[in-house]
Structure formats: C-alpha cells, structure tokens
C-alpha cells in the first residue's frame, strides 16, 4: 500500500495501541487536532481521551508525568511538538527516564517513547528545525532512533513502543509527506540495525533521517559519473550498528558521514573515530563529514546552504576518491 511517512506512523501507533492497552499517547494538540503534523490523526476519536491525552503546554510536565505513568506499568508515547521545544524536558529525560533502570538496579523500567519531529527543510521559524540527537545519544540509558522512510516509520515506532528501554524517536519532518510502498505485514529489521540502501564498491556514505534521501540522490549522480557509491541508512543513532558500517568500509575503503546537525562533536565524529579504529588498515582516505555548519540553525531563506544537499555530499565523495 502506498502510504505517506506521517500516515505510516499513524498506522504504527494505532497498531501498538490495539496490541497493548497500556500504550497511551501524551502531548500538546495530539487529540482533536491530531498533532500539528497530523501524526495522531483520528486516534483520540477511536481510542478516547484517556489513551490519547491532550496535556497542558509544558514539555517537562509531559515527560515527567509519563515517567510516573511508566512506574505504574503504562507505556507512554510522548509527542514533543518540535525539536527545539524538547529542552525544557531535558532534565526529565536524561536525569530520570534514562537512569531509573540503572539507579534501581533493574527493578524499575521506563518503557517510554519520546517522539520528536526533527531537522529542517520546511522553511519554518526559529526552534522548529533543530537536530538535537547528540544530546540524547550521549546519554547512557536512552536508545535513539530515526526512520527515514514510511516502511521504517511503521515498523520502528512499534518496535520502539514495545521495547523495555526508553527510546528517543526522531521523525525527519521534511519526510512526513514522502510516499512509498509499505508492507504492513513484512518482517521488520531489528531496531538497532543499519540498512544498506544502495550497494556500491568505491565509497560508503552513512546518513540518517532527513539526509538519507539526499545521500541516495548523490549516489545516483555518482553512478552516472562512473562511481559506485554505497549508502547506509543508520536508523539507530544509539547504539550505532558499526558492524554494518565496518563491513561496507572494508569493501569500499572510503567513508563519508552526513547529517544535518553541526559537524563539531556530532555523530559523524563518533563514527569517524570508531571506524578509523576498526578499519584503519582498509581506509584509502580520511573519513570525511558533511553536515550542518557550527552555527545556530539559520533563518529559512538560508537553510538550503546549511543542510547537506546532494552536491555537497558529492563534493566530499570526490575529495575522498581523489585522496
């Protein structure tokens, strides 16, 4: 069935709520409105306002009360309306949600999923286009994932909700309206596994979320120029599936990592360091990074320069191949 990314998420949430009565959705405007991106459309009508809970406007409150509900056996799914709004909830996420299992030596679970539309490319105003994934990937106890296409959106949201660990679930908002075939009965790839979405032999591009489509476009253009480029969709940002990246790099000898977040101390740095450690003798060129600049997210009319596009990714591929 051809489905949009947002509709696939909606179907995944609906399925999770059907499967487990302890799954509740919480957030601002998620009920009658269906969320500002309509991801929870019609769910309150069908499941009632005790399971699709319109909360007061307070992000720390959403996550903090979800934590209390989890202590009583619920599986809350919180919606943070936009990436830049998650910071008021940061303490609840990193100090409580992430640590309760460790703190209680395994006696208390916090199976909470925190959905965050993230990234730019929609021409919005300040605080609506950020990529805060590293703050969470740096926090032990959290899993951080991001689907890049409708099929993964459907399967990964269900896996995240079913997992006994807390999951930060980033949704690349510029992909909400992408359409693709989704097999709702297909067996899902494990949540922490990366996927090779384009096979190639000359260089590897690692991407996630909103940049996966850009990387695939770059690989197609490179192919027209006679270069065979492999593209890996990371999917899980914590943990990272280094085995899949290592297998690719031992084959291609070259690695380019791309993400929207600023490059400095970003996930690209972590991937470059680990792959250098694991594949040092196979690398033909330094690992390169193509990301956002080390600036606050810029005004909408400048974001096309900030976001890595296929041309900037290709420039890095050329630099790598020339090394």
């Amino acid at each position: 069935m051809i489905t949009t990314f947002a509709a696939a998420l909606n179907a995944g949430l609906r399925r999770a709520m059907d499967d487990d009565p302890k799954v509740v959705l919480m957030g601002e405007d998620i009920g009658r409105l269906g969320g500002v991106f309509r991801v929870t459309d019609t769910l309150q009508k069908d499941f009632g306002d005790n399971r699709v809970i319109d909360t007061p406007l307070a992000e720390s409150g959403i996550v903090g009360t979800a934590f209390g509900m989890a202590l009583r056996g619920y599986r809350p799914v919180c919606e943070i309306q936009f990436d830049g709004f998650v910071y008021p909830a940061f303490d609840q996420i990193v100090s409580h949600v992430a640590k309760i299992h460790y703190r209680t030596q395994g006696k208390v679970l916090a199976p909470i999923t925190i959905r965050i539309p993230f990234g730019g490319g929609i021409g919005s105003v300040e605080h609506h286009s950020e990529s805060p994934e590293v703050y969470f990937a740096h926090t032990a106890g959290l899993r951080v994932v991001t689907p890049s296409n409708p099929a993964d959106a459907y399967s990964m949201i269900r896996q995240a909700i079913m997992l006994d660990d807390p999951v930060i679930f980033f949704e690349p908002k510029r992909r909400y309206w992408d359409k693709a075939e989704v097999d709702f009965d297909a067996e899902a790839l494990p949540l922490d596994r990366a996927r090779v979405c384009v096979s190639g032999a000359d260089a590897t591009i690692v991407a996630y979320g909103g940049t996966v489509a850009s990387a695939i476009t770059a690989a197609k253009i490179a192919a027209e120029e006679g270069h065979s480029v492999e593209v890996i969709d990371l999917r899980s940002l914590s943990p990272i599936d280094f085995d899949t990246i290592e297998a690719s790099v031992t084959k291609t000898g070259r690695l380019i990592v791309t993400h929207e977040a600023p490059v400095f101390a970003g996930l690209g740095a972590e991937i470059a360091a680990r792959i250098t450690e694991r594949c040092f003798y196979y690398l033909e060129a330094p690992v390169l990074r193509v990301g956002g600049f080390d600036i606050p997210y810029p005004p909408a009319k400048l974001e096309k320069h900030h976001l890595p596009d296929p041309d900037r990714i290709l420039a890095a591929v050329d630099r790598s191949l020339a090394a």
Binding site: T65, R72, G106, Y281, Y282
Partner: protein, 370 residues
Amino acid sequence: MTNKTDYPVQLIQPDGRRVLDREHTALIADIGPEQLRALYADLVITRRIDTEATALQRQGQLGLWAPMLGQEAAQVGSAYALRPDDYVFCSYREHAVAYCRGVHPTEITRMWRGVAHSCWDPHAVNMTNPNIIVGSQGLHATGYAYAAHLDGTEIATIAYFGDGASSQGDLAEALGFAASWSAPVVFFCQNNHWAISSPVRIQSATPIARRAYGYGIPGVQVDGNDVLAVLAVTRQAAARARTGGGPSFIEALTYRMGPHTTADDPTRYRSAAETEEWARRDPIARMRKLLERESLWDETFERQVGARADEVADQVRTATIDMPDPAPTQLFDHVYATPHPLITQERSEYAAYLAGDPDEATARPEGVPT
C-alpha cells in the same frame, strides 16, 4: 479541606495540651493510647537512625548524609496517614517516611555509602528511592496518580519535597497537571526554612501553601512539629485523593536542626538563637509531654523505646560497615533493560583488562595491507 486556613493546624500545644480543633481532632479520633505510644516510639527510633547515620558519615563510613533531625513529626505523622497500597515519591531527606513504609533499616544507607544509586526496591514498599534533582518528583507523582486513576484504583499518591523545591518549574507544572487532570496526588511540602543557605523568604513571598490556591488546589498549613496535626491533615488529603476529590497541598512548617547535608556548615548562615528557638519546639519533646499529661509515659516505656532505637541503630551501623564494594563489572549492569552492543563490548573489554588479557582488538588482522 478548604482554603480558609491561614494559620497552621495544630493539635498538640508545646506544653503537651491538646488543641480544641473539632474539624481536625475528628480526623484522629481513632488514635488511642497504643497508637500514641507507637507514634512516639517511631519518632524516637527514626531520630536514632538519623543520628547514627550522621555519626557514620563523620566516621568515614558514608560519603554523605542528609540529616532530618527536627523533621521527625512531619515525616512520621504523614507516613502514618498512608496505606500500604498508596505510593510515595520522596526527596532525599525522607528517612523516617522510608522507615515507616517498611524499608528495612539495613537498606537506608546504601546509596549514601556509594555502593549503588538506590537503597531499596521501590515496588516492594511503594516508595521511590531518594530523588536528588529537586522537585522533579512532583511530576512523577502526578503521572503515577493519574495512571492509578485511569486504572480505577482508589489510592493516594504523595510527593514529598522541600521549600526550596517549591521554586522549581517542575513543581509548578505538577500543580498545573494535577489540577487539570484532577489527579489523586498529595503535595507535601516540608518547609524546613532553609534550602542549604537560602532562607525560605528567598523562595516565596507568600506562604507556600497559598500557591496551590492559584491552581485551584486546596492548601493547608500545618504545624510540622506536631505529629497528630500532620497525621490529621494528611489523612484528610489522602482520603480526598482516594475518593475522587483530586489533588491537595500541605505545607508542614518545621525546621532542619542540622546541616543540609553533612558537607554543609549552617553556622555560616544562620544564628544560634534561631536554632535554639526551634529546639524549644522539638517534636519529640512535645509528644512526650502529651504522653505524660495523659499518663501514657513512664520510665519502663522510655527504656523499651530506647532499647528498640538502639537495636535499629545497631542494624544500620552493622549493615553499613558490612556493605562490600560492588564488583567492577557491575558498572555495566542494568544500564539498559535489553542487550546493548556498546555496553556489552565495554564490559567485556574492561573485564579482559582487569584479568590482564592482551587486548586482541588492537592486533592487526591477518591479510590486511600494510
């Protein structure tokens, strides 16, 4: 409970006489001689636990301790109002509440010794472990209370916090959520007058209980050094929660006689005269005067209570000193509930390092180009 109370509820006067307060006396009408003696005994025992733990810290057996000396009545009185199936969210100073919930004395110091981040199994006694981030537990309690309400379970959830925490945004959000959801939660503020070195006037220009009114939540001030008054108002709030009445707010006026923690020096920021004034309002002395006045106190009873307190203190001391350091690989236990490759790898590498094994990961694989 209404919003009419602009004075602290009190049921025992400093000289041990009862206060004629029909509304609140009725709430403790069932507290007979044996219960009065039991309350007194727990005030004494929990003070003994606290002084023993403070001594253990001074002797280097605990890394830190947050003394609750002076706050026994606020804690014991409120804890007595709760049922086993109620759920308690605490701060880091509720040692007497923990004891009254059934936490074994040998479990109270684990976190403070540094062998773990927790002291007891929360679900075994329906009470969370010490919460270090000030005020965040107000939201946890509200969420738990709301979940209990969704379950149709008639229980009360209570959140303990201090006057300093009342300044935190999370407490404001918790009051807002609780009122909006009519969540069955009791907000229990122990106003002990000092947030480390900051007097309560820095936290609030009005009585803290009045903040609840703005959220549509009834609030009450109670003499926090009067165990019967605290029991009465907490019973009222807990009953309100259990019967669908929604949230309540209690401000117990008490005083931290000691330092904020054993790392603190209160002589730098408050006067001896102030401390002495509060020492005259000591909650245990007041309860003893009541028992004496009602012919329930004698030296035999005193000896029995003292012996029990000594026994519990000895359990705390022995258990603390006997706590071994955890095995190094426990560093990696329970970070996640499900297997996580990074943690698995780090555990394995560190175990090999400790065992003196060569780290094979750094060896050059066979057949690679040089």
